[in-house]
């Protein structure tokens, strides 16, 4: 009787251990199949669109009257442009907010502020995009006397809101992790609180803060709905923040719905999706590198 009970317990143990192990495999399988399927669906494009035309041409025009053109340069530039603009807005706000939360706010205020930041991360991107159409866009146009309501700046502002939680929470973690010994030492040497923060704590938390910025940048590049709704989606090569622009993500969202399956256009959209995936992958892993570096410094 006792023996039977023990064996069934051990059987269950082994059974579930393996179930858990197999489940944990899914992440690897999904990541690999993501890459495989993106490659598979974009591969036919290579024979149909010359490599140089894809990467070096600014002309993206899938149904032009004199032929189809699939040059990624313009939309890639626009993606990087609006993301760079986003970082210009969100880096100072994000780092300052992180400093406030970790160094200045009393514990009680902290317990309110941290969930507040998470709340910001919880707002669906389509709601933020809608807010850009009805409020932020018109506000920017009115403030700067512009004709276009939908613009790169509008999109960048909304994206800043969306990447702020990433930057703030990771920077906050990095700043909090800085040893108190450093703080006490600098205060004892006569530094005031701000000097301590900007000359001692921030440099010590540098790796984590850089990682948070990289992850925020990655999110900005990959965000779809907010830029789709707020940026105006004109295929332009412009440096003017008040002009409408069209990103890679918006291009996929607009065109994939109307495209014939397995046409050149379909494959090209997977091609730019693959470019987006690789970009996000590289940025994410650079960020990981910085996070690891930060951990090493502490030990």
């Amino acid at each position: 009787m006792l023996r039977k009970k023990i064996t069934s317990a051990y059987l269950k143990n082994i059974l579930f251990k393996n179930l858990f192990k197999i489940s944990s495999l899914t992440s690897i399988i999904i990541l690999l199949s993501l890459l495989v399927f993106l490659l598979k669906e974009s591969a036919p494009m290579i024979s149909e669109v010359p490599f140089s035309d894809f990467f070096l041409s600014r002309n993206w025009n899938p149904d032009g009257w004199n032929g189809e053109f699939y040059g990624i340069l313009n939309i890639l530039y626009s993606t990087l442009y609006v993301s760079a603009l986003t970082m210009l807005i969100s880096i100072p706000i994000g780092i300052f907010a992180a400093i406030f939360i970790s160094e200045l706010s009393p514990p009680l205020l902290k317990t309110i502020l941290k969930p507040l930041i998470e709340l910001l991360a919880g707002i669906p991107s389509v709601v933020i995009g809608f807010f850009g159409i009805v409020f932020i866009g018109p506000l920017i146009a009115k403030l700067f006397h512009q004709y276009n309501i939908l613009s790169a700046l509008n999109g960048a502002f909304l994206l800043s809101i969306m990447v702020l939680p990433t930057i703030i929470s990771l920077s906050d973690d990095a700043i909090t992790a800085v040893s108190d010994d450093l703080r006490h030492a600098s205060l004892a040497l006569g530094a005031n609180r701000l000097e301590m923060i900007f000359t001692i704590v921030l440099p010590a938390a540098k790796s984590g803060i850089i990682a948070s910025i990289m992850l925020g940048f990655g999110r900005a590049i990959g965000e779809t709905m907010a830029v789709l709704m707020a940026c105006g989606n004109a295929l332009r090569f412009t440096g003017n923040i008040f002009d409408p622009i069209r990103t890679i993500t918006a291009t996929i969202a607009i065109e994939l719905g109307e495209v014939a399956y397995y046409s050149t256009h379909y494959h090209a959209l997977f091609g730019i999706g693959l470019v987006l995936f690789i970009l996000a992958f590289i940025i994410n892993n650079i960020a990981e590198m910085f996070i690891k570096k930060g951990h090493k410094l502490k030990c």
């Binding site: 317990a9 269950k12 143990n13 579930f16 251990k17 858990f20 192990k21 489940s23 944990s24 495999l25 992440s27 690897i28 999904i30 990541l31 199949s33 993501l34 399927f37 993106l38 669906e41 300052f96 907010a97 400093i99 406030f100 317990t111 969930p115 507040l116 998470e118 919880g122 707002i123 669906p124 991107s125 389509v126 709601v127 809608f130 807010f131 009805v134 409020f135 702020l164 005031n192 701000l194 000097e195 990655g218 590049i221 990959g222 779809t224 709905m225 993500t249 996929i252 969202a253 994939l256 719905g257 399956y261 999706g273 987006l276 995936f277 996000a280 992958f281 994410n284 892993n285 990981e288």
Partner: protein, 284 residues
Amino acid sequence: MLKNPIIKALVYFLLFSSIAFIAIFLVTITAILVKNSIGTINLGFILNAPKNGMSEGGIFPIIIGTILVTMVSALMAIPLGIFSAIYLCEYAKDSYYTNLIRISIRNLAAVPSIVYGLFGLAIFVKSLQFGTSALSAGLTLGILTLPTIITTSEEALKTVPSALKQAGYSLGLTEWQVLTKTTLPVAMPGILTGIILGVSRAMGETAPILFTGVAFYIPNLSLNLNNQFMALPYHLYIMSTQHHDIDGVRGIAYSTASVLLILTLLLNIISSSLRMKFRKDLKK
């Protein structure tokens, strides 16, 4: 430089205003959306179907569609996510293999949502021939929420004091018994936090469902997973950019946005208060 009282005051002001900026944004977006919904939003709006080419009526089938597709994603992501987290936290040794799993999870979390849309189209709609359906879209969203659920569950499992587990082992319990009798019950609120966060994220996503099953308009409410569906985020998108009379349906768009915003904010508030309670309980 930071000794100058004027500069000091300025820096303090900037530090404070960056936090104020976020609070003001949250209040403004909620206030403006809710204020402009007044007049359209009422019980009838929630409980009626769209009428007259979606220029009148409510959003009932759209809410149902969102719930349906979110449930599919939850059914896929919750067991897989929790099982993976249990393996990583309780069983895995620090090996090359577990390192590979962790790297994959972190990279999955960074994949743009539109790329998940492409992936869902290629694998579920085309290769597995589920077609553009609630099933394809739900599975795509499930994949998207998987990293969230794994990471938060793992964090919850990690915080369970090892003394509790060791007490179990010293009584001769197997790993499985320790897991079900002590670790999981203690970590449950934390795991729940992750599940709610994942579900609320799946509910608000648009890009992954664009090509995998969401429909502009469906006349009859259907709960069949093989059919297309309507969803709140996509409905908001078309009401604000694609509808033939955008200015005429602004009220509907505002109300849809409010419903979506309030739903996700509520889920987020529930999950953060759960987490706070969880942390407090663990401290005791």
